[in-house]
Amino acid sequence: MKRTALFLLSTLLFTSCLKEAELKKPFVSFTPRQINDGWEISTPSQENIDPDALAEIYRDFHADSDIWQVRSLLVFRNGKLIAESYTKDDNDITTPRAIWSCTKQVVGLLTGIAIEKQMINNVNDSISTYLTETSLYQDKKNIRIEDLLTMRSGISYSNDGLAGQSDDILRQLPDKSTDFILGRHLQDIPGVNAQYKDCDPQLVSAIIQSQCGKPTAEWAKEVLFAKLEIKNLRWNNYKDGITLGGFGILTTPRELAKFGQCVLDSGEWKRETIVSKEWIKQMTTVRIEDMYGYQFCYLWWRDKNRGMTFMWGHGGQYVCIIPSKNLIVVMTAEVNTQDDFQFNKGVFNWVDRIVQIAD
């Protein structure tokens, strides 16, 4: 009796284990919902994409356990939303989430608008023309706006880890973000070596803010977000009131795609020019041949092999623009996973599969 009781108790205990929750929902449908957010909705068939093949891709996207982090996959063609699915929560359709470094690409667009509005003369201007703080840091006066847009300021600054300066910004340790960045030593001659870092677009945001007389985020609402019918977007300012430039935006996948559509349509949204065609061309021209295996433009990314321009944010936030197919693919993922645990391995294979079925 005692032996049986012991055996039963032991068996019960040894089989007590925690089970992993369903990390992604099974695929049900990619038919977009009409939420009157400015996107015209269509079907894959009407836009010359095989719906069965697309459904197969979506099924795999939902089922692949290696990409447990992903949250959404949206496909736009000919300016219309043709497919969308949210792997974790259908509320993601309107819930703004961090897009991390995709913020840099928004800053790239705003730079063009600032130039068009003659708030900035041109990208060859020294930052000292706009940032009064530069008078205290004379070694930085030769940094041009173009150097900031191409990550070639030469300022010693790291995004990574506890020792990185972005960590200080995220913990809001420095009182003044611009002084903190300009106060770093110059490790390279400006305009020579490219190093991906958050401080360069942060200075671009500070420059825009110095010229528009209000936080960059507020100005952006007037000149960009409102025109793109973007309503769910939030953008954080640093504690000194300067809008974050290297990261800081929270928005939805659908709204993120509007920036992509604007670039694909050479600066237009619904036939209204938001950003000049010339700036879009300038902004998406390759300036750095190799940055993490891709090409870097004015704060925008290019993949020459795929003929693709893209936005890229930490954790796995992507807006992929394929002009040859008039196609945009948006993928978002859990924010803030680190290093190899981000959604970044084989990401563009999903884009390739969609491109292949787009006639």
Partner: protein, 274 residues
């Protein structure tokens, strides 16, 4: 890409008066147990003392972790004192543990602290009863650090629990066995709320310490439970070593929920007997 190691947290302090009141109540309960402890100690009871190691397998499922379950090895160390006579038994112990857990290769660090656990048990009615049962009080701290999730974050789950403890000792041939069960019934629980500002955060040891008792509130079974089951086998009555199996469960049921499960082998070194 942007890669930082950050700990997301937000200061949510209780009012100091409320906290003081709760701490006072806890102090009174603790004092009562200490009085009982010394009372029993002074009556010439059988006293045994042992220390133990318990290597095992631990699992954590945090509400904040997308549904991932972290699994991995854990090792605990602790000491126990038993004071026993024919009518009652008092036990006192402490325990420390550490675990390195993984989910999809994502690492997590777990730290377990139990600075004190008391049980005051009476012999269950019956002339030959080997069952002792009675109230218990324990203080537990669970700390989990996830450096690769949420840009790095950590959480505390703390409980000061009153519960029930039961122990059944019996002999089988030349061996002796001990079955022990403990479950919390009510107490004070602190579960660090999820704070997921995706951009700004606090970081540093002082923040981790600050969150030890964050939002400490009274709770009972509908909100949390900690349960421990233990089977010990002593090969011979005078053996210095006792082997056993321990199952631990802790659950906090309100968002952000947490479930902790561990299965361990317990190796007890019986140090001294009077």
């Amino acid at each position: 890409m942007h890669c930082v190691f950050q700990v997301c947290r937000k200061s949510r302090h209780m009012t100091s008066n409320k906290l003081k009141f709760k701490q006072m109540k806890l102090s009174i309960i603790s004092l009562l147990f200490l009085l009982l402890f010394f009372n029993c100690r002074g009556q010439g009871n059988e006293i045994s003392r042992n220390s133990f190691f318990s290597p095992g397998f631990a699992q954590v499922k945090e509400g904040a972790n997308f549904g991932l379950v972290f699994n991995g090895p854990a090792m605990n160390y602790g000491m126990n004192w038993d004071f026993k006579n024919g009518k009652r038994m008092i036990t006192f112990g402490y325990e420390l543990g550490v675990g390195v857990l993984f989910s999809k290769s994502i690492p997590a660090l777990g730290i377990y602290l139990k600075p004190a656990e008391f049980a005051y048990m009476f012999r269950f009615p019956g002339s030959n009863s080997r069952l002792f049962i009675g109230p218990s009080l324990k203080f537990e701290y669970n700390y989990y650090l996830y450096p690769q999730l949420q840009s790095g974050f950590d959480y505390w789950f703390t409980d000061f629990s009153c519960g029930v403890n039961a122990r059944y000792d019996f002999k089988y041939r030349s061996s002796s066995f001990q079955l022990m069960a403990n479950s919390s019934l009510m107490g004070f629980v602190s579960r660090q709320p999820v704070y997921r500002d995706p951009y700004f955060f606090d970081l540093g040891f002082k923040y981790a310490v600050r969150d030890l008792h964050q939002n400490l509130t009274f709770a009972s079974l509908e909100k949390y439970n900690t349960t421990k089951l233990e089977i010990l086998w002593k090969p011979r009555l005078n053996s210095r070593f006792t082997l056993g199996y321990v199952f631990n469960y802790s659950g906090y049921y309100q968002a952000p929920g947490i479930r902790l499960v561990s299965h361990s082998i317990k190796i007890v070194i019986n140090k001294k007997q009077k």
